[in-house]
C-alpha cells in the first residue's frame, strides 16, 4: 500500500507561499533543504516573523525571496546586500536576512559583500554555494573549484576559487559558518544563532546542483553530491578560516569558524548622531 497523499497541513508550509509551490528548482537541488532549515530556524528562534525581511539577488537561489512568506524583496543581480543594508538602517527593528547564491553574492556582489562585512551591518547572510551559475545554465564562477568543468570552462577551470569564509572573516564578519545541505540540523541551529546575533553573520551552505555542475563533474545525481559531502565533510568548529579552502579532492571543513563581538553599524550610526547633537548644543 502506498500512503502518498495530498498534504493539507505542513509545518514548513506556514512560512512558504503555498500558492507558488511547487517551486522551479530542479530535482535534487540543494536550495530547498536550505530554505527548510531557514524556516525551521525562524520558528525555533521565536522571532517576530512580521519583523523579518528577506532579500535575494538574482539566480536560482535568488528565487528564495519569492517563496518565503515574509516581507521579501527580489532585487537585481549582486545588489541584495546594499538593498538590505538600506532596509535595515531605515528600520532597525527589522531582522534583515539575505539569502542568495554564490555567483550573486561573491562574484557580481563581491564588493558589496566585503564592505557590508567591514561595516558589520546587522544582517544574516545565507549564501548557497553550488559552485556554478545555475540559472544561466552552468557557467563557472569565483567558487568553482580548480579544474572543475562547467559550460564556460569546458577544459577545466583554471582560476583559483575564493575561500569564502576566509574572505568574509577577513572583511570583518562577526559570525562565519559553513555547512553542507546534508548537515541540516547543524545548519538550522547555525541559522537560528545567526538570526539572533547582532552584526554581520555569514553562513555558507554547500548544496548540490545535479542538473548542471553535478552533471559536468561526474555527480549527475543529487545523491552523488550528498555522498561526496558525507564522505568528505569534517566538522571542525573554531577552525581558522584560512585553513578551510575547498579543493576538488580535499576534505570539506564545516563548522562555525568565527563568533566574535564588534559594534554594529547601527550602533556606530547612533554614535555619529550623538556626537553631532552634542556639538550642536
Amino acid at each position: 500500500m502506498t500512503s502518498s497523499t495530498k498534504v493539507e497541513e505542513y509545518i514548513t508550509d506556514s512560512l512558504l507561499r503555498q500558492d507558488r509551490m511547487p517551486h522551479i528548482w530542479c530535482p535534487g537541488c540543494g536550495i530547498g533543504p536550505a530554505v527548510g532549515c531557514f524556516i525551521r530556524a525562524i520558528e525555533s528562534s521565536g522571532l517576530d516573523q512580521d519583523k523579518i525581511a528577506l532579500i535575494s539577488g538574482i539566480g536560482c537561489t535568488g528565487r528564495v525571496a519569492g517563496y518565503v512568506k515574509l516581507d521579501s524583496f527580489h532585487t537585481t543581480h549582486g545588489r541584495a546586500l546594499p538593498f538590505a543594508m538600506g532596509l535595515g538602517l531605515g528600520n532597525p527593528e527589522l531582522n534583515v536576512v539575505v539569502f542568495s547564491g554564490d555567483g550573486d553574492l561573491i562574484a557580481i556582489g563581491g564588493n558589496h559583500l566585503i564592505h557590508t562585512a567591514r561595516r558589520n551591518v546587522d544582517m544574516t547572510v545565507i549564501c548557497l554555494n553550488n559552485f556554478n551559475y545555475g540559472m544561466t545554465g552552468g557557467q563557472m564562477g569565483p567558487t568553482t573549484p580548480l579544474n572543475a568543468r562547467s559550460n564556460t570552462s569546458p577544459y577545466g577551470n583554471i582560476e583559483y576559487p575564493f575561500n569564502v569564509p576566509y574572505l568574509v572573516a577577513a572583511s570583518g564578519a562577526t559570525y562565519v559558518a559553513r555547512w553542507t545541505m546534508l548537515h541540516a540540523r547543524q545548519l538550522e541551529w547555525s541559522i537560528a544563532e545567526a538570526l539572533t546575533k547582532p552584526g554581520f553573520s555569514f553562513i555558507e551552505v554547500l548544496g548540490p546542483c545535479p542538473t548542471l555542475y553535478g552533471r559536468m563533474n561526474k555527480m549527475a545525481r543529487g545523491m552523488d553530491s550528498l555522498n561526496y559531502y558525507k564522505e568528505n565533510s569534517v566538522v571542525r568548529n573554531g577552525a581558522d578560516p584560512k585553513d578551510v579552502d575547498l579543493t576538488s579532492d580535499g576534505p570539506i571543513v564545516v563548522g562555525k569558524f568565527v563568533d566574535i563581538e564588534r559594534p554594529t553599524f547601527w550602533e556606530q550610526c547612533q554614535l555619529v548622531i550623538d556626537r553631532a547633537q552634542a556639538k550642536k548644543d
Binding site: 507561499r17 500558492d19 507558488r20 512580521d50 519583523k51 525581511a53 532579500i55 525571496a65 519569492g66 512568506k69 515574509l70 516581507d71 521579501s72 524583496f73 527580489h74 532585487t75 537585481t76 545588489r79 546586500l81 546594499p82 538593498f83 538590505a84 543594508m85 538600506g86 532596509l87 535595515g88 538602517l89 531605515g90 528600520n91 527593528e93 527589522l94 564588493n111 558589496h112 564592505h115 550610526c269 555619529v272 548622531i273 556626537r275 553631532a276 547633537q277 550642536k280
Partner: protein
C-alpha cells in the same frame, strides 16, 4: 532651526548645499552616496547635517550600492536620496530601473559634468538629459526636474520628494556643475507639513493585500517592510500580487501601467516658466544654467525689437510636449541652447513636427554659452 530640522533663514550657499537642505526639509532622513565631483558637496552637507536631525548618512562602496541602499531605505518607510555626477549616474542606471519596477519613491540628484567617460570632472555640461530619460533598459517613464539656481535646487529637491512619493517613482534632479558650484542667496523657509507629500498607504487589512493593485489613478498603495503585510516585490515582470509572471500579457499590463501612471498625470507634473511668449515669433526653449544665459540673450533681442520669448523647462521629463505643440502653431522657430550636442532639441523638434523650425545652439561642455551665440541664433531664425 525649524521642527523638521531645516535651517530656516537666508543664506549665501553654493548650489549643492541647498540641495541637501531641501532634502532635509522634505523629510529625507537617509542618504547613501559616493564622493564624486561636482556632487561631493551634497554628500558632505548631508554627512554634517543629517545626524542633527536624527538621519543616517552612509558612504557606500560605489554608486550601484548607493542606489540600492536608498531603495531599501525607502521600503523601510524612509524618504531617501543619493547624489552623483555622470560616471556615477551611469552606474546607477540598472537599479534606477529596479526603482521604477518596484515603484519605489526616492530622489537621485545628478550634478552634471562633461562626458563621455571621465570627461571634465570639474566643469559643467547638460549631457545626461537623454540618459535620464532612457538610461535604464526597457520601457518606462521617469520624472526629471532641472533647477537653474541654488534657490531653485532647494525648491525642486522638495518638489522631487513630493513627486516621488505621490507617483511612486524615482525622481531625478538634473542639475549641473555651474548651478551646483555657484554661490547665491538662498532663502530657506519653514516648510509646512501639509506641503509635503507622503506615499499612498494601504488602508484595508493585511489579509489579501496586493502590493501592485493600483488605485484608479494607476498608483498602488505602498506597504512598508515590518508591518505584517508579508508582501513580495520583484524586479521580474509581476502581477498584482507581486509574483513573477513570465507572459506577454503580464508584461503588457505592468509596463503599460508604469508608463501611463506618469503620462496621464503629466499636466499635474510638468512645470515650466514662460517669459514674453504671448507675441513671440521665436521661442528660446532652455533649461538649467542655459536658461539663465538664454534669458539675457532674449532680453537683448527684445531690446533690438525681435519678438522672442523664453520657455524655461523646469520639468524636463515628462516632456512638455503639449505646450510645445501649441507654441509651434504660433511661432516661426524654436531656438534650443543646451550644453550638449543635441538632446532636448530632438524632443522639441519632434513636438514642433515641422510646424516651426528648430535650431540647436550646441555647446560641448566645459563652460556655459556665450549669450551672444544664443542672440545670434535668435536673430538668424527671426529673419
Amino acid at each position: 532651526m525649524s521642527e523638521n530640522g531645516a535651517l530656516c533663514g537666508t543664506y549665501f550657499l553654493n548650489g549643492d548645499e541647498p540641495c541637501a537642505e531641501g532634502a532635509m526639509s522634505a523629510g529625507c532622513r537617509f542618504f547613501a552616496g559616493y564622493p564624486i565631483t561636482p556632487a561631493t558637496e551634497v554628500a558632505e552637507r548631508m554627512s554634517e547635517r543629517l545626524p542633527h536631525v536624527g538621519g543616517i548618512y552612509v558612504q557606500m562602496e560605489d554608486e550601484i550600492a548607493s542606489m540600492n541602499a536608498i531603495l531599501g531605505a525607502s521600503w523601510a518607510g524612509m524618504k531617501s536620496m543619493t547624489s552623483t555626477s555622470g560616471p556615477g549616474f551611469s552606474l546607477m542606471m540598472e537599479n534606477l530601473g529596479l526603482g521604477v519596477m518596484l515603484e519605489t519613491p526616492c530622489v537621485v540628484v545628478n550634478i552634471q559634468r562633461a562626458g563621455p567617460s571621465t570627461g571634465l570632472p570639474t566643469l559643467t555640461a547638460q549631457g545626461d538629459m537623454m540618459q535620464a530619460r532612457w538610461g535604464s533598459h526597457g520601457s518606462y517613464e521617469i520624472i526629471a526636474l532641472v533647477p537653474s539656481s541654488p534657490q531653485e535646487i532647494f525648491d525642486l529637491t522638495i518638489e522631487a520628494f513630493n513627486l516621488s512619493e505621490r507617483y511612486r517613482v524615482p525622481v531625478l534632479v538634473m542639475s549641473d556643475e555651474a548651478v551646483g558650484h555657484m554661490s547665491e542667496k538662498v532663502v530657506i523657509p519653514e516648510i509646512a507639513p501639509e506641503n509635503l507629500v507622503t506615499r499612498p498607504r494601504p488602508n484595508d487589512g493585511r489579509e489579501g493585500y496586493l502590493p501592485f493593485k493600483a488605485n484608479d489613478d494607476l498608483i498602488p498603495p505602498m506597504a512598508i517592510a515590518g508591518e505584517g503585510y508579508r508582501f513580495h516585490v520583484t524586479g521580474l515582470t509581476h502581477d498584482e500580487r507581486g509574483y513573477p509572471v513570465m507572459t506577454a500579457e503580464a508584461q503588457d499590463k505592468l509596463v503599460r501601467r508604469l508608463v501611463d501612471k506618469i503620462r496621464v498625470h503629466r499636466n499635474d507634473i510638468i512645470k515650466y516658466e514662460e517669459i514674453g511668449v504671448e507675441d513671440a515669433e521665436v521661442i528660446v526653449c532652455a533649461y538649467g544654467i542655459s536658461a539663465r544665459i538664454a534669458r539675457l540673450a532674449v532680453q537683448q533681442a527684445r531690446e533690438e525689437s525681435v519678438r522672442v520669448g523664453l520657455l524655461r523647462l523646469i520639468t524636463v521629463w515628462p516632456f512638455a510636449e503639449d505646450r510645445i505643440r501649441e507654441l509651434a502653431q504660433q511661432v516661426k522657430a524654436f531656438v534650443v541652447p543646451e550644453i550638449n550636442y543635441g538632446q532636448i532639441v530632438l524632443e522639441v523638434e519632434r513636438c514642433a513636427a515641422g510646424k516651426a523650425r528648430t535650431l540647436l545652439v550646441e555647446h560641448m561642455g566645459g563652460s556655459v554659452h556665450n549669450p551672444q551665440t544664443i542672440l545670434d541664433a535668435i536673430k538668424k531664425v527671426a529673419k
